[in-house]
Symmetry: C2
Subunit: 187 residues, 2 copies
Amino acid sequence: MSTRAFTFLGGEKGAFRVTRLTAIAGATLPSISRIAVVPGIVPVGDERPRWFLRGTTSNDRYVTRAEKERLVARSPDLGRPGATSAALIPIRKSAAWWALTQDERRNVLEEQSHHIEIGLRYLPAVARRLHHCRDLGSDEPFDFLTWFEFAPSDEKAFDELVADLRRSPEWRYVEREVDVRLVREER
Amino acid sequence: MSTRAFTFLGGEKGAFRVTRLTAIAGATLPSISRIAVVPGIVPVGDERPRWFLRGTTSNDRYVTRAEKERLVARSPDLGRPGATSAALIPIRKSAAWWALTQDERRNVLEEQSHHIEIGLRYLPAVARRLHHCRDLGSDEPFDFLTWFEFAPSDEKAFDELVADLRRSPEWRYVEREVDVRLVREER
């Protein structure tokens, strides 16, 4: 089992309690009360979740060496004691996005939309892990699952971060997005 | 089931008869007499193959718009009547490759190694389909499966193509490569 892959089980179980589930673009996800984050692409039959999403962390696709060094130097780990707020934001991009070439996607993502630069502004407050679903080999409902963790006092900053991105040219290519806000509660 | 994914079943069945199986770098694959190419990530229990490999076609990672247009204009489809020779070349790249950033990988692949330019020289003789395995979410033995089809009279040209690539700086990052040559035999 790859340690790069993760499954998000939406239902009645798990350490993360849902505080808000909002469809930003396209179809929403069925409402749930909790999410469990489990390493690997797990069999979900016994868990009976209402829904599940899975993805795998991968190599970086867009950052330059200089950007990567700035990101690595400032990025916190997941699971920090005070960072009890979380967000799961699954995103699907359009066929038009995937028909762009690498240099065209980079141009929209950073030169036009400043996605990496905007993200850097919110470090080290917001920890982030990106999961890719598009190349899992099955028909996944989203292309990416983004997972964030931050302190409750940084929720307003996190709202500004996602608002900045949603106003950017890159988001013209987002055809489905759901924003699930969570609180970590060890039980 | 995604129509972008394919499973290669190595054993005693399938339309493609193995004529040669050579380990170019790293561990070889167990020897087999035939390969079946099946759409999707298929359950392989009933087929009892000696081995199976699977991957999914995806968006382009490295080509520019100008390169893509040249490739699309000159790339033939798979399954051409006269193109009865085939090759399956699974490749695994090193951790050092995956630690490079996108711009660094592009620089090695094209500016240093001319991978795209070399491939263009052999179009339209050699049809090609690239499958990605790295982000399937499981521990796959290879990162890519490359599949080629060409006329028997173009086998020498194909040998030159792979020799050109294996001499390039990009291939310093290849830690496992097996070259399986095949003939299509409808039965």
